[in-house]
Amino acid sequence: MRVMVLVKATKDSEAGTMPSMELLTAMGKFNEQLANAGILLTGDGLKASSQGKRVAFGGPGRTVIDGPFAETRELVAGFWLWQVKDMAEAVEWVKRCPNPMLGPSEIEIRPLFEAADFASS
């Protein structure tokens, strides 16, 4: 199965604080482990939401909203796409991730729809 692993934003990431050298090195090593285990498909870090835009949909209307956005905890600061055997494997790999932020932070794991999910419908 494929999962998207979402690193949630924090005040620091939203403020555009760049990660420390130590964190970059540790993340590099973790990424290498993921690649060597054959599970890493792709991944990247995202700039703060102040650099982002939203497009709101309502009927035929399209409204463009400029960042930054509130609800920091709901924002995404980075992502990976992994191919794993099951959610348990994804969870164990996420536990091995170095703390992605300076302070407390969260990583969310979401399975992707697969062809098999559509087979029965």
Binding site: E32, A35, N36, A37, G38, I39, L40, L41, T42, L81, Q83, K85, A88, E89, V91, E92, W93, K95, A115, A116, A119
Partner: protein, 420 residues
């Protein structure tokens, strides 16, 4: 956390570490079955310790230490293994007091080498192709015997027997679980890649509605290919094979219709091809080329797959490039099937006569005597050349050879279209 959750977490950690653990242990005790037992023992210890202590910082190293201690205890206890004891026991005694930290450092150094050694051993040419595939899935992929049996449509006892025999053969041949460095390295590598591609193709051949473990073999093979690419970053054919698998896998969901029937490459909805896998495949192909391996059999097949991936519509396919890739492929991988595909490519690039000229040469190849695609291709060339009566004979012959009802109907339809 509930006890059952803790157990599940421990078992998942074990699953992640298992191949590394086995490769370190197998090299130490030079016996796959014993390595498996020791690893299992280490899991039992973890299941009793970790719920109290929590999962250690480096669970892999912890499990390795636990397994090594079991090995030493086992050697001490068991007089039957006196010979082995004399052979390796001393080394083990020396390691008796090794700390997790030491092992951790050693594992990071040998990490790749030991795992690669296990892969090369599981894929050793002394074993049959089928045994190699089963053992690789068991040891590296961590599949159970039952899963392997279901994946290959075999009965479980037969697979178990195959694995037991393979382990005995490895022990009998005195293999040392090392990565070949000398003159036989290329041959041994070819054997590894062959096994990975065999696993991939078995998954690719699965049809809709079958046990999901079968198409799952594609993912298993891709994972193996990615692991190999990490462990052997300088081997062009590893990247050639990875490119081939990633690009072929990009079409997995586009190749079957809602009713489960097969959709040919030219008929597929290309918007459904997985662009991420295509990009990964193209990157692997670039890597193979950069390493000087553009002409390897897998890199050439990867390049062929890439030609289709590059074409947004079937009509955009660069058949001249495909024809020239087949010209190169038949040199490094001679086979009548490659020759047949080459004839088809030339017919698409240069017209039906070009195809007919090339197909004459393979017409009488024994290997393809009852191979439906041969007369089907010939019929297609003749049809496009306007030689309808001859085309009809070929389509009818192809239909009579086909064992697939849908394909048979399709070929009879083409025969019908030739008129009478």
């Amino acid at each position: 956390m509930a006890a059952s959750e803790t157990h599940q977490a421990i078992e998942t950690v074990f699953r992640i570490e298992r191949a590394r653990l086995l490769s370190g242990l197998a090299r130490m005790v030079r016996d796959v079955s014993l390595a498996e037992e020791l690893a299992q023992d280490a899991l039992v210890v973890a299941l009793s310790e970790w719920p109290k202590t929590g999962v250690p910082q480096n669970p892999g190293a912890w499990l390795m230490v636990a397994a090594k201690r079991r090995a030493i205890d086992g050697f001490r206890r068991d007089r039957m293994l006196a010979r082995k004891h004399a052979e390796i026991g001393r080394d083990l005694e020396d390691e008796r007091d090794t700390s997790v930290g030491d092992i951790e450092a050693a594992m990071d150094d040998d990490l790749g080498d030991e795992l690669l050694g296990l892969i090369f051993t599981a894929c050793h040419p002394v074993l049959s192709r089928e045994a190699r595939a089963a053992l690789t899935l068991r040891l590296i992929g961590g599949l159970t015997t039952d899963e392997i049996a279901r994946a290959f449509l075999l009965n479980e006892a037969a697979v178990a027997q195959r694995i037991v025999r393979a382990k005995k053969t490895i022990a009998g041949a005195g293999l040392r679980f090392e990565v070949p460095r000398g003159g036989d390295r290329m041959e041994r590598l070819a054997s590894v890649l062959e096994v990975v591609y065999l696993i991939f193709n078995e998954g690719y051949a699965a049809t809709a509605g079958e046990d999901l473990i079968r198409p799952g073999l594609c993912a298993e093979a891709q994972r193996l290919g990615r692991i190999l690419a990490g462990l052997m970053p300088d081997e062009p054919e590893v990247f050639g094979l990875l490119a081939l698998m990633e690009i072929q896998a990009s079409r997995l969901s586009a190749r079957s219709a809602a009713d489960g029937s097969f959709i040919s490459l030219t008929e597929q909805d290309r918007a459904r091809w997985d662009q991420l896998l295509i990009r990964r495949g193209l990157a692997a192909l670039e890597r193979a080329k950069a390493l000087g391996g553009a002409d390897g059999p897998y890199a050439l097949q990867g390049a062929l797959a890439a030609c289709h991936a590059h074409a947004r519509k079937a009509e955009d396919t660069d058949w001249k490039r495909i024809a020239s890739l087949y010209d190169a492929l038949r040199v490094v991988m001679p086979s009548p099937v490659v020759d047949l595909n080459r004839a088809v490519a030339h017919s698409m690039a240069f017209g039906p006569e070009a195809g007919l000229m090339l197909i004459e040469g393979i017409d009488c190849a024994d290997a393809l005597r009852d191979y439906a695609p041969l007369p089907a291709a010939k019929g297609d060339f003749l049809f496009r050349a306007g030689r309808l009566a001859e085309a009809r004979v070929q389509f009818e012959r192809a239909a009579s050879l086909s064992r697939n009802a849908r394909e048979k109907a399709f070929l009879l339809g083409r025969a019908e279209a030739c008129g009478g």
